[in-house]
Symmetry: C2
Subunit: 360 residues, 2 copies
């Protein structure tokens, strides 16, 4: 383990997250379940069926299917829409999860070609879609766009893109890995947002903080097909209950806290933006997440944060990523831990960080 991560793990308080991902999370979720409750069996049984029904209702869709991962769920969603239209081409953002984090599964397993829409530093807008030169079966929108700090189009843009896709017969899929987290900014319910999309994926280990797992929702014809593909992918496990039980337990615990996380992200971003050479992205967060960009060399900043962690007991970040030799960034996602940080210590720590940055 590197020195920065190590110093971060030793801190008493952390600014981001729900706490370290440990076995206690699973145990706590299971504590409320009786030992004799029967496992789900290959997609059947109370645990999985009840949770699917509940999430379908929450997302305002006819049907929902629990998946072990979003990687699997989303490839399958795009495959179904491509097969429906007999056209193996989709469009998504250049920093889409499928493009940069999945070892090209979409291409290697499904032979689907993606068209990369928009400049990678901004979100997809209507003009990007109307300006497409090639026919596509499906457009994927990721809300918020994680790799650029969690940015969002405004709701009207979203509604216009949706209307255009319907008009053109283009299926619209939502990468809603962080859907719960953006509802306070839009001031909409999940069902209202999802009504703009033909299919929706949500994750249970981002803002919800579960162990793993995802839901894919849409109409019943779509979800039935997704179950066949889930088996083909090797995702129709005999037992998914550890993920389902933890997802359900933490969904109940945290889905109502997204407004709080959002407000806290706004507050924390303001603190960062007061520091010399520091800017958050976006400047004003639209969810519980943002990036912190700092103009300084990575090795020097690492020393700064290691010292800061040791001196203040407040954890800022466990890793830094280089943008250039003179600039780095890290991701912040607010969770349960932020509210536990005492305000005086927080103010002091930011003052100290400001001093240290000046001295670089």
């Amino acid at each position: 383990m590197n020195e920065l991560l190590n110093s971060f793990k030793q801190t008493k308080f952390q600014l981001a997250g729900h706490g370290f991902r440990n076995v206690g999370v699973m145990k706590q979720a299971l504590a409320g379940i009786e030992d004799n409750q029967e496992s789900d069996m290959y997609g059947n049984g109370n645990f999985i069926e009840d949770f699917q029904t509940k999430l379908a209702a929450y997302l305002g869709k006819e049907s929902a299917v629990f998946f072990p991962s979003g990687t699997m769920a989303q490839q399958i969603a795009l495959r179904i829409w491509c097969d429906e239209q007999g056209l193996k081409r989709v469009a998504y953002h250049p920093l889409c999860h499928l493009e940069i984090h999945e070892q090209d599964g979409l291409k290697e397993l499904h032979h689907i070609d993606p068209v990369l829409l928009a400049d990678k530093n901004r979100v997809i807008q209507l003009e990007d879609v109307t300006g497409l030169n090639e026919e596509i079966a499906c457009l994927l929108l990721e809300l918020p766009q994680r790799e650029i700090g969690g940015q969002l189009p405004d709701y009207e843009s979203l509604a216009r893109i949706s209307a255009y896709c319907r008009e053109q017969g283009i299926r619209l899929h939502l990468d809603g890995a962080r859907l719960f987290e953006i509802l306070p900014y839009y001031g909409k319910t999940a069902a209202e947002i999802c009504s703009l999309f033909d299919s929706v994926y949500v994750s249970f280990y981002k803002g919800i903080g579960g162990v793993a797992g995802a839901i894919l929702a849409g109409d019943s014809a779509f979800t039935e097909k997704s179950k066949v593909w889930k088996r083909r992918h090797g995702g129709d496990l005999i037992s998914l209950y550890p993920y389902i039980i933890s997802a359900d337990y933490l969904f109940e615990k945290r889905v109502g806290k997204m407004e709080q996380y959002y407000q806290e992200a706004l507050e924390l971003a303001r603190l960062y933006n007061q520091l010399p050479g520091v800017a958050t992205r976006p400047i004003e967060p639209v969810s519980n997440m943002f990036h912190v960009r700092i103009k300084a060399p990575k090795d020097k900043l690492e020393s700064v944060f290691v010292e800061l962690h040791e001196q203040t007991g407040i954890g800022f970040t466990g890793s830094l990523r280089e943008i250039s030799g003179e600039e780095v960034y890290y991701e912040v996602s607010i969770g349960d831990l932020y509210e536990q940080v005492p305000q005086p210590e927080l103010t002091e720590a930011f003052q100290l960080l400001g001093q240290k940055l000046k001295e670089i």
Copy 2:
């Protein structure tokens, strides 16, 4: 739930299995783990790395990778061998899991053509392999062949097939979903059996009785490629520890009991074979499993077993599958429960079953 399954679930003792698949299994496995133990992270971390190292050593292979399912692991193994040889054709038994239980994932996702070897009612022998008319990249052998009652070739046949494949440059893959269960019959270690194969898959929810999960083992070049495909399939989950912890806990608890299960299967099969119109398949089991075949119409037999369950408190089976209008079968896999059945009650129950079968 149907009446037969319901009556089976109400019995005090059951002849097969480790008990119903319930949440208690997961809780028990977690009880010995401290809350602050950190989750695995996308294939890294102590839980997953330690278990992989342990199983690689047990199987006598250079390296091993934990997968959420055997469906995923085996498609990937075959894909790697096909890519290596630039030939998208493999051979396996007509009742291979990939052929009948995976919604054609191998064909739909990997575009691999299988050649079905041997008559479906017997295991693959050397002559089937030497008689192949088409070139293949890989041969898959399932030991034991589950869908025909868990049959095995003798060890010498196996060794000859392996030698032939090496000579011909055909990769040999082991579907060892029930590998632990056949070691007593062969009188060999897992590593000795696995040394005949280039790649090996084992499962943790058959004889081991875990929650889910599988290991794929081979040389490091092979397992490194399998990790890339695991991510493409959506199986590289952020946390697999619930499956790993339960697999490890129950591996330790049960891998040493396979000889006992095997002897008990021999004993139970003898009891069945004394009954009129009943034969086990194989007559003499070679693992902890066998099929019970009964010459009688399904609906009549269902009534017989429902009554038997109610009258004796001993559970024989929860489901019957039709072979023809006049014959049915069910699968028996011996686990922890068999030894708990009191001998006098067992004898009495078999006598009663014999009487009832005569009266059909």
